[in-house]
Symmetry: none
Subunit: 294 residues, 2 copies
DNA sequence: TAGATTTTGTATAGTTTATGTACAAGTAAT
DNA sequence: ATTACTTGTACATAAACTATACAAAATCTA
């Protein structure tokens, strides 16, 4: 906390002027001491300094510098207020896409917050977050958008999804599960959605995520007393290794259920087709009632 | 024990003034003799001396020096309290470590929640989450724990950290920043901590995270009007490529500030050493005041 | 373009607060 | 008895506060 004299000396602005700016343009709001003297915070000084720099560098008048400053703050708020108007789902998807492509952390999270406030979370996952990430993933593969944009987007969306992985209630009597993509696999949205589906049913799912070495699974299965393993694959080249692993798993843990999924299985012949799960969410329900909720 | 006159002569402060300070600012509390005369302890004299030095050296008013003093004692009390619950903190670290190693999503989040309820968030980041992740990272490199355990742990800790990246308030007049690790780099905890440090100062930081291709940065810098780029490196092999990039960046964006960090720079000769940031958090403050908060 | 109006920095007046010091009247120490 | 200390009140000066005023510069208007 600084007195007006200190600030005046630091910034080279007369005290009268500082007070006049405060009164005329409401750019700062210093705290007062018991006796009513102004006490300036770092933030206040920042603002004054910025104003003065703008005036000096760009030869602006005080009023112009102030409206620049207000513009900066207003931009954020206005963006957020816009959301309350446009709230149809397609709009939300487009907005979120733009936020993510534009690397706007704050706006993206605000949009997701809005989505969660308008729709139930299952709906948000499947009809907003997943489509956006799918679109971004496709455009990334086509080279239409940059790596950084794709990483940034999936990082934010995955983060929001995984919050639900630990906040939803668990029913301890249901089986425990493990979900993962093998090494070299990075597309985890499908895996996340299915894990959330199971988590929503009350299963205790440990989400290991992408790039998990299959040879580590037996130890984990034993340690956590797992009875359901969910594996997602995008690249068909990984099927062979997975096939071998499934075989040993069936032998070592005959009671453990295995579920496979992901685009890697489309139009591929494999000995494991009985474990492969369809993409449709309605089929998930069928699978669940027949396999887990028997 | 010293009489008021002795103290006055020792410190060069009139007796009247000493009494006025005692009455007005409650900074000292000298014992009284039977007859009511003040008897000053060494501690009282130290306090007075400190106050006087502050006023002389930093040209502070008595009221300002006093509030500094009170702040100092508050800090010390906090230190002492911290010390008494240091055991508790070590306990938390151990608990969290066990939760993460045991792949217990829910318990790990509960432990982190507990940590946030006991300490301020900066403390939690630097003294609980970072040490745990560091320990797990080391044990992973030594082959003591599995890949799955390391991935799982860093996924959870990063998720908790990044929540702060978009919930802390922003000061729009401060510069905008970008933080990232280049391609092939995966250790992001240091980058995250420094990003949080800047975010905490009110800077609008876009966290791109690990594995970001450097050649995409110019477009992003233009798009988001970035004026600060933070890059972290663990592997010294990446220094050469980074050096080239820094050179072109300096040429194309002379106004953009660059900050480099990470263990990759330890004991390495490089032309970029002027941009390299020390590890110590106190040095971060120095860097900030001299570079951003000029 | 001349004159009116607005913007902006600064000045001034009358108070109030902050801070160091002075003084009076009484008590303690030696 | 003399010197030092106590409390309480008072006072002077510096620094801030509010409010109003004013002049130069910039901008608008007829």
């Amino acid at each position: 906390m600084y007195s007006i004299k200190k600030v005046s000396e630091m910034l080279g602005i007369p005290t009268v002027t500082i007070r006049a700016w405060e009164k005329r343009y409401q750019i700062i709001n210093p705290v007062r001491s018991n006796g009513g003297h102004r006490l300036y915070s770092e933030e206040d000084i920042n603002t004054l300094n910025w104003i003065k720099n703008q005036m000096d560098e760009k030869d602006l008048k005080i009023s112009e510098a102030v409206s620049l400053l207000k513009q900066k703050t207003v931009d954020r708020v206005a963006d957020v207020e816009l959301y309350t108007i446009k709230k149809e789902r397609d709009n939300l998807i487009e907005m979120l896409y733009q936020d993510l492509i534009g690397l706007n952390t704050i706006k993206a999270h605000k949009t997701i917050d809005l989505a969660f406030s308008l729709y139930n979370y299952v709906d948000v996952f499947h009809n907003i977050l997943a489509p956006v990430l799918y679109r971004i993933g496709t455009e990334w593969e086509d080279g239409k958008i940059a790596v950084a944009q794709e990483h940034f987007s999936s990082q934010i969306i995955m983060q929001r999804c995984s919050q639900f992985l630990w906040s939803l209630p668990i029913q301890p009597n249901l089986p425990k599960g493990l979900s993962l993509c093998p090494e070299g696999e990075h597309h985890q949205m499908g895996l996340m959605l299915f894990s959330l589906f199971l988590r929503n049913k009350g299963l205790d799912i440990t989400y290991l995520g992408p790039d998990t070495p299959l040879n580590e699974l037996p130890a984990i299965i034993r340690m956590k007393d797992i009875s359901l393993v969910v594996i997602s694959i995008t690249n068909p080249d990984n099927i062979e290794e997975l096939e071998a692993w499934v075989k040993t798993c069936r032998r070592d843990f005959p009671d453990v259920k295995i579920v496979l999924g992901g685009t890697g299985f489309q139009n591929q012949r494999t000995t494991m087709s009985s474990y492969v799960l369809p993409d449709k969410v309605s089929d998930w329900e069928t699978w669940y009632t027949s396999t887990i909720d028997k």
